[in-house]
Structure formats: structure tokens, C-alpha cells
């Protein structure tokens, strides 16, 4: 029986994506886009209801 592997380091590697210095920023951007998509879908539903 083996023990737990170590946690993934939060500073593992740079995302190498223009405009982002950390993966946390990428995740926040993706989640923010999801929120925007939901808002747009809600507005779409209301406009065409």
C-alpha cells in the first residue's frame, strides 16, 4: 500500500499563453467565459421569449 502522491505544485509550469502568467489566471478566464456564456444565453432566452 502506497501513500498519497504529493499535491500538484501550484507553480508547476507557465501556461505560455499570451496574457496569462499562471494557470490560475487561465482557469479564471475560462470560468469567466462560462459565466458570460450563461448570461448571454439567459438574455437570448428573454429576448426571444
Amino acid at each position: 500500500m502506497n501513500p498519497t502522491p504529493p499535491d500538484p505544485s501550484p507553480h508547476d509550469e507557465s501556461p505560455d499563453v499570451p496574457g496569462f502568467r499562471s494557470w490560475r489566471g487561465v482557469y479564471l478566464f475560462v470560468f469567466g467565459c462560462f459565466v458570460v456564456v450563461v448570461i448571454l444565453l439567459a438574455l437570448f432566452s428573454r429576448y426571444f421569449a
Binding site: P3, T4, F31, L41
Partner: protein
């Protein structure tokens, strides 16, 4: 279908398969065969993840879902971005750091061999049976509508995917899925454009959207807390996150798609690509279905879209009843069409009273049409209790065959077949990898260093699972309710497997023996509840996962802390 359609269909499908075989004919490294090329970039990984999830039934059923119930089904995918972020932040770095071929190999290192074997066997049972359905479900619809022989459709598509998946393994799967997705996107965009040109003059996209919205088809987001509502924002966020986490994080058919690649960055960006695009993509397919609904408000549809089934009953002993229903439906459709035109005219008057009255008349006419469609299904059941009354899967294919120009028909059929091949290839690849790495190598540890032999064995297992899927799909044609049985089977096992993984990641003091016996007990509990309760089978995902996690923690607490045990080198 004419010659042009056949040329496009066979040309694209055989061309992609031949390209996959030719480009990967020299693959002899186990790593490349099981994980794909080392140089695979994020775009290929992202497309491969998308292609594995999108089966043929996605492109047959989802437009039908949009036609029948509107675009609200998109909320089912609301949990996907959050689940993929969790997979990127927690699951993927550990899989990459340990250099595993399968997700279950990680469990072997985190816990022990018996836990790894248990989860691998649970995956093989569930996915092995489901892969037959992947090829059977579209084949039954395409063969019914196009008059193709069902057994030949299953065997031909099955053999095609076996040839290139056996030859090039994961490298071939990645390569062919990229082109298959290109065909899928091209075909769906073509269908969208052609559909817009087929709408009545002057209606346009905006007018069509207003008609669909007024008739209740464009309610994309529903914040209602009413538990009777099937698709809401809350069910999508809660249930969706849970289901997507288990699918993307622990199902080898997905894990295998993103653990390869040049670096951790490529897998992460591939998953984020899906987190960004999946919801807009599913919404577009549902919107296409809603626009097909609008189209059929101006062009008379059949009362029942599975025309083969309908004509069989129409020519039977009670045929007069079905002919009468056809006539009633025609009259109701004409009334509805007239009411819609009156409402569209009333909208331009900007008189609220006139518009409301016209809208009420339109909705009343719509209700009458819906009642006749329900009556048609009831008549089918009364005539034959085994009749298949779900016709929404036939809506889009009927539209394609009746209204798309030749060439586009071949392209759209290529979309369906490409989706079937892409998802089945990913599944076969995952089944063969799990069988080779988690079972065969476990029982033949001395063979682990003979790379050529490992590749040969993986190829044999790929072929085995391919023929198993074909055999199962052929058998499924004699027992249709097996499809639902497979979905139930998946829900029974999925929860416990996810429970094992969540314990591995988040309950750090729990060891292998505790989680193994907790998983066995949780699986037994799920079996007992399944045979004694009458609840939706989807709940067993949650029950299995929660039972496994809670029992693991309790057992470990009883057995004592795991921290006294020696650490393995790779985890130290």
C-alpha cells in the same frame, strides 16, 4: 442518395481511415501506440477529447431534442467547464508526473494492486458493453431510414474503425479524429446555412428565432428550483459537474486522449479548449433543431417521423385508423401555419392586444398539433405494444434526406458515420490499453520490458474489443432494451469508480485496503438499492461515490492511520 452522395460519403470515410493507417503504419513504440505521438499539440488533444465524447447519436438526437423540447438541454453541460478545470488542476498533473498509461495505474501506485484491478475491471465491464451501443444506436436509425441492411452497416463501420485503430493505436485515433471533426463541423455549418435558405421568404434568422421563442423552444436557461423541471441551471451545475468529473477524470477513454502530448501544457490547453467550446457547440446543435422545428411549421412534416414504422402500421390491419390520423394532422397543420402567419403579421402592427390574441390562437393551434402527434404515438402502441414511439431521433435525418441538396446529403451522412467512428476508436483504444497495462502486464510482469511484444498484445486486444463490439451490436438488434440496460449498468459502476478516485486525491490518510473494501461494500450497496428501490438510475452515480468515500474514511479510521506505512519511491 445519388452517386454524388455516395462518392462524398465513401470518399471521406475511406480516405480518412486510409490516411490514418498510412501515417501510423510504422508505429512500434508502446508509448506512441498507447498515448499518441510525443509531439501532439493542444489542438489535436482538444479535438480528440471532443470527438471521443461526441458520438453519432449526438448529431442524430440533439437536433431532435431541440425540435421536441427546445434548447434547454444545453444546461446539462453547465457542469463541464468547472469539471475540466478540476481535472486540469488536480487529476492531469498527477497522471503526467507518474507517467501512467491508464488512470487505474495511478490507483495502483496510490493504493495497491487489488484496488487498481477492481477499478480497471469495473471500467472494462461498463465501457466494453457500451462500445457496442456506440456503433449500434446510429446504425439502427441510418439503416431504418436509408434502407441499408443493419448487420452490414454495423460490420462495415466496425471493421473500418478496427483497421486503423489496430494499425496506429492512439496516434491513429488522434490523427483521424482531427479530420473527422473537420467533416463534422463542415457538415453542421452546411446544414445550418441550407436550413436558413429554406425558411420562408422574409422570415430570416431573427423571425425564425421569434417563432421558436414564442412556441417555447428557446428557453436556454431556467433558474427555477422546481424539482419537476428536468433541465435547469441548478441540475446542470450540480449533477452536471459530478457526471462530467467522473467521465473526464476517471474514464480511460477520455484520460487516454489528454495524458499524452508534448507537455502538461498541451493536455491542459486541450481540456480548456473543450471547456470554452463545448457549451456553444451543443447550443448551436440544439438551435439547429429549434430552427428545423420552425421550418416544419411552414412545410408539413410527417405526423410521426419514423416513417418506416408508421407505414408498417398504415399497411396493417388497422391501417384506416392511421390514414385518418394523417388527414387530421394535415388539417391541424394547415390551421397552425395560418395562425403563425397571422401572428407574424400582428407583430408588425405593434398593437399589444392584437398580438396577444394572435399569439394565443397560434399556441392553441400548436397544442392541437402536439395532441395529434401524441395520439399517433398512442395509436402505434395500441396497435403493437412493442412499437417504438420515440421519433425525435428521426427528425434531423428526415430533414436531411427530404430537403438538403445532393452532395450535402452525403456530407451530413458522413458527419454521422465520422462521429460514430471517432468515438468508437477512442473507446477501443482505451479498452485495449486498460486490458494490456492493467490486466495482461499485471499477470505477465516479466513481459513488461519487451516493448515489441507489448505493442503486439495491445493490437490483439484492440482487435478483440472491436470484434466484441460488433458482436454485441449485432446481438443488440435482437434485444433493443439492452441500450437502456447499458446506461443503467454505467450508472451502477460509475459512482464507485469516481469515489475511489476522489478518495485517492482528497482523503490523503486513506490507504488501499480501506478503499478496496469500501468500494466493494459501496458496489454491493448500489446493487441492493438498485433491486429494492424505484428511483432514477442516475442517482446511483451519487450514491456509489458518496458511499465509497464515506466507508473508506470510516474503515481507515477503524484500521488506524496509514501514515505508519512505508512510502514508495515515486511518491516519496
Amino acid at each position: 442518395m445519388n452517386t454524388l452522395d455516395w462518392i462524398i460519403l465513401l470518399g471521406t470515410m475511406l480516405g480518412i481511415a486510409a490516411y490514418g493507417v498510412w501515417r501510423t503504419r510504422n508505429v512500434d513504440s508502446l508509448n506512441t501506440y498507447l498515448k499518441g505521438n510525443q509531439s501532439t499539440g493542444w489542438a489535436t488533444i482538444g479535438i480528440s477529447v471532443m470527438a471521443t465524447q461526441a458520438s453519432a447519436i449526438t448529431f442524430l438526437s440533439i437536433p431532435g431534442q431541440g425540435f421536441e423540447s427546445g434548447v434547454g438541454f444545453v444546461q446539462n453541460y453547465f457542469g463541464l467547464p468547472l469539471a475540466l478545470i478540476i481535472v486540469c488542476a488536480v487529476f492531469l498533473p498527477i497522471y503526467r508526473r507518474l507517467g501512467v498509461y491508464t488512470a487505474y495505474e495511478f490507483l495502483g501506485r496510490r493504493f495497491d494492486a487489488k484496488t487498481r484491478l477492481l477499478s480497471a475491471v469495473l471500467f472494462l465491464v461498463q465501457r466494453g458493453l457500451a462500445t457496442g451501443v456506440t456503433i449500434y444506436a446510429p446504425a439502427i436509425i441510418l439503416s431504418a431510414v436509408l434502407g441499408w441492411r443493419l448487420d452490414l452497416t454495423i460490420i462495415c463501420t466496425g471493421l473500418l474503425v478496427i483497421i486503423y485503430t489496430v494499425t496506429g493505436g492512439s496516434a491513429a485515433v488522434n490523427l483521424t479524429q482531427r479530420w473527422q471533426m473537420a467533416i463534422i463541423f463542415g457538415g453542421m455549418v452546411t446544414a445550418f446555412i441550407v436550413l436558413l435558405t429554406k425558411l420562408p421568404d422574409g422570415l430570416g434568422f431573427s423571425g425564425a428565432a421569434h417563432v421558436a421563442g414564442a412556441m417555447g423552444k428557446l428557453q436556454a436557461v431556467d433558474f427555477s428550483l422546481n424539482p419537476d423541471r428536468r433541465y435547469t441551471f441548478w441540475t446542470g451545475m450540480l449533477g452536471g459537474t459530478f457526471l462530467m468529473l467522473s467521465y473526464f477524470g476517471t474514464d480511460q477513454s477520455q484520460v487516454q486522449r489528454y495524458i499524452g502530448g508534448a507537455a502538461l501544457r498541451e493536455g491542459r490547453l486541450g481540456l480548456m479548449f473543450n471547456a470554452l467550446l463545448k457549451i456553444p457547440m451543443q447550443f448551436s446543435i440544439l438551435l439547429l433543431g429549434a430552427l428545423v422545428f420552425v421550418f416544419y411549421q411552414f412545410e408539413q412534416p410527417p405526423v410521426f417521423f419514423n416513417q418506416v414504422e408508421w407505414h408498417r402500421h398504415e399497411q396493417g390491419a388497422n391501417g384506416a385508423k392511421f390514414t385518418a390520423l394523417d388527414a387530421q394532422f394535415g388539417a391541424a397543420f394547415a390551421e397552425q401555419k395560418s395562425a403563425i402567419k397571422t401572428w407574424l403579421t400582428a407583430r408588425t402592427t405593434h398593437d399589444a392586444t392584437t398580438e396577444t390574441a394572435a399569439r394565443d390562437a397560434m399556441l392553441a393551434a400548436q397544442k392541437q398539433v402536439q395532441e395529434l402527434r401524441s395520439a399517433a404515438k398512442a395509436a402505434l402502441l395500441a396497435d403493437d405494444p412493442r412499437a417504438k414511439t420515440k421519433d425525435s431521433d428521426y427528425v434531423f435525418i428526415t430533414f436531411i434526406l427530404d430537403y438538403l441538396p445532393h452532395g450535402a446529403i452525403g456530407l451530413l451522412l458522413a458527419v454521422m458515420i465520422a462521429a460514430a467512428l471517432g468515438s468508437k476508436a477512442g473507446e477501443l483504444n482505451a479498452l485495449a490499453t486498460t486490458t494490456t497495462i492493467d490486466l495482461w502486464r499485471h499477470f505477465r510482469p516479466l513481459a513488461a520490458h519487451d516493448e515489441a511484444r507489448n505493442v503486439r498484445v495491445a493490437k490483439w486486444f484492440t482487435a478483440f474489443w472491436g470484434f466484441f463490439a460488433i458482436g454485441f451490436a449485432l446481438y443488440a438488434s435482437f434485444a433493443e432494451n439492452l441500450i437502456e440496460a447499458i446506461n443503467i449498468l454505467g450508472s451502477i459502476f460509475y459512482g464507485v469508480v469516481l469515489g475511489i478516485f476522489l478518495v485517492a486525491f482528497f482523503l490523503k490518510r486513506v490507504g488501499g485496503t480501506a478503499v478496496f473494501w469500501a468500494a466493494v461494500a459501496a458496489q454491493l450497496l448500489v446493487f441492493i438499492l438498485f433491486f429494492s428501490l424505484k428511483i432514477s438510475y442516475l442517482w446511483y452515480n451519487l450514491i456509489g461515490c458518496a458511499a465509497c468515500a464515506i466507508l473508506s474514511w470510516i474503515l481507515q479510521w477503524i484500521m488506524g492511520s496509514q501514515s505508519q506505512l512505508p512510502k514508495s519511491p515515486e511518491n516519496a
